[in-house]
């Protein structure tokens, strides 16, 4: 097969993973190479779906056929061979062969976009749970949870972890009239992204919606009977009756595919600014990849826009282009029970004295805005309740704009493009290649 490829001078690209980064990689490859073969492997059974939407599915807001972010024509149009329910097991770097549960395949390039997998903590007795233990990152997780709750007529669920995944899962369950208890190790929810005030506003909203939040605590032990979960025991000894436990304390890069082979990894697979690993024909991107980010550090930031950016850049470079990844900072846009929130970068600086912090709060209207400035540049911010022009702040962070001349207007009602320095405004307004 390889010989045939060589004769036709046609490249074969293999993409492992069919989520945000993998799909964007297809688009990147096709920018340069319309002829090459693209094979996409997924161990799931869905031609395409958006993982962040599973909480909408659980809540009943979206049906299964509404979860796709690309339609079936996309794969057809891009001439992609999609292998579903196929697990990739090993890459032979020497002979350039990929071993899968569907057989082996030669390749010229591989893109690894295997994403993250949930962290399962070391809880006493957890291995004995046969029924009632769930995670919440894939569509099948949401389906299993939904089915279990219906079949067993579950009324209460314990979620371990008050971060993004735990909270979105909680929201989905609450809208099904399930009573949810969130156990969070930190002293507040969404602690990685929010500050005290934003956490408090969202916590209050959760409590109003029949959700109990147990903070500064964790689950130490679980009790089961014949494999059915019966009870969770917290660090402080408190016992909670529970038939369902959802583990949502975070994800780690899913690097199984490179185990035992010479591809460098730290937490994630290490890639350079072209999304290339230490092996010139193996690329990686998205939640599995560790790359140099906006702050200059090499890290994994598990967010959708990073995955799509990196997948596309990898695709462009694999197919002969040359595009550099510029790095990103953490950002999230999440709505909790009708309160929209957008947060960027450092919202809770460790060294508050060195930073200047601007705040504006209206508890009644549930509007909160915070901007963190360091050395005259914005390094982070929170928009809660009123988010419409939050993107302008994103641009100011990304372009490292000195805000000293207009910072008094950043939280003003007049906040908009006109308060920005004229040169920057004209720069972002004109678009590429067009003079104003």
């Amino acid at each position: 097969m390889k010989k045939e490829n060589e004769l036709r001078n046609k490249k074969r690209y293999i993409i492992i993973g069919n989520s945000a980064s993998g799909v964007s990689c297809i688009e990147g490859i096709r920018e340069n190479d319309k002829e090459g073969e693209i094979l996409v492997f997924s161990d799931e059974d869905y031609f395409n779906y958006s993982r962040p939407l599973i909480s909408y599915y659980l809540a009943g807001k979206l049906k299964e056929d509404q979860l796709n972010f690309k339609d079936e024509k996309f794969y057809e149009k891009n001439n992609v061979k999609l292998f579903l329910k196929t697990r990739c097991e090993k890459i032979d770097l020497k002979d350039k062969i990929l071993f899968t549960t569907y057989g082996k395949f030669n390749f010229d390039y591989i893109f690894i976009g295997t994403g993250g997998k949930p962290i399962i903590p070391d809880i006493k007795g957890i291995e004995k749970i046969k029924n009632g233990l769930f995670t919440f990152t894939k569509l099948n997780d949401a389906k299993k949870l939904e089915r279990y709750i219906e079949d067993k007529k579950v009324k209460e669920v314990v979620i371990l972890g008050g971060g993004l995944i735990g909270l979105k899962c909680a929201e989905g369950l609450i809208s099904k009239n399930i009573f949810v208890k969130i156990v969070e190790l930190s002293d507040r929810i969404f602690a990685n992204t929010f500050d005290n005030i934003a956490s408090e506003i969202v916590e209050n909203k959760l409590k109003e919606n029949n959700c109990e939040i147990i903070k500064g605590n964790t689950i130490e032990k679980v009790n089961t009977k014949d494999g059915d979960l019966k009870e969770v025991i917290l660090k402080d000894g408190k016992k909670i009756k529970a038939n369902v436990l959802v583990i949502a304390i975070g994800v780690v890069p899913n690097t199984e595919i490179i185990e035992g082979i010479n591809i460098k990894k730290n937490k994630g697979i290490i890639v350079d600014e072209y999304m290339k690993t230490n092996i010139p024909f193996i690329y990686a991107g998205g939640d599995v990849a560790e790359s140099i980010e906006f702050d200059g550090n090499i890290s994994v930031i598990a967010i959708w826009p990073r995955a799509t950016k990196q997948g596309k850049i990898a695709g462009i470079n694999m197919s002969g282009g040359s595009k550099k990844y510029e790095g990103i900072f953490i950002m999230n846009s999440i709505e909790f029970f009708g309160i929209p929130t957008i947060s960027f970068g450092i919202t809770n600086p460790k060294d508050e004295k060195r930073c200047e912090i601007l705040k504006k709060i209206d508890y009644e209207k549930k509007i909160y805005k915070k901007i963190v400035i360091n050395e005259n540049k914005i390094v982070g911010g929170i928009f809660l309740g009123d988010i419409e022009r939050a993107g302008i702040l994103n641009g100011l962070i990304k372009n490292r704009i000195d805000v000293s001349s207009f910072k008094n207007l950043l939280l003003d009602e007049k906040f908009g493009l006109l308060i920005l320095p004229e040169t920057y405004r004209k720069h972002i307004v004109k678009g590429e290649g067009i003079e104003v």
Binding site: L53, W304, P305, L418, I419, E435
Partner: protein, 154 residues
């Protein structure tokens, strides 16, 4: 054919006619009086009009080449029209996750909180061929140009 709207803020007189005509063109009747005084809900304008002191200007989606909103969209609702290269928005797919709002450095995407949808986004009046805002700007503060930057007149 790729077209772009260019903003010349020096010429903006702050009349907001761009907004009026954008709203009218995106209404069912396309009639200015019926749009403003009729019973149907008035569409939201795709233009952000800003005024500060003596400066004013109107901005709409720039249809960026490297469109951050398309990259960030969780549902595929934000997409590029392959022929015109305009960035368009499919309301059916939109669930109001506001990822586009988060990444647009111009902050020009308007939201409809009630219905959890992007409320409005400039579509370059793609179906009609010529943007209503440009057509009705009395002082050429917004003009339409082609790929080479040459001005296109209706």
């Amino acid at each position: 054919m790729v077209k772009r709207i260019i903003i010349r803020e020096e010429y903006c007189i702050g009349c907001r006619l761009c907004e009026v005509h954008c709203i009218t063109k995106h209404s069912k009747t396309k009639d200015i009086i019926k749009t403003y005084k009729g019973h149907e809900p008035k569409p939201v304008s795709g233009i952000y009009f800003e005024e500060l002191g003596h400066i004013s200007f109107a901005i709409q989606c720039r249809h960026c080449e490297d469109a951050q909103c398309i990259e960030a969209c969780l549902t595929g609702a934000m997409y590029r029209n392959e022929n015109t290269k305009a960035v368009l928005h499919n309301k059916e797919k939109c669930i109001g996750c506001w990822m586009c709002v988060m990444v647009c450095p111009l902050g020009v995407i308007k939201i409809d909180k009630e219905n959890k949808k992007v409320a409005s986004k400039c579509d370059l009046c793609i179906e009609e061929g010529f943007p209503a805002c440009v057509e009705n700007c009395p002082n050429e503060a917004i003009i339409l140009v082609n790929e080479k930057g040459e001005r296109i007149e209706k």
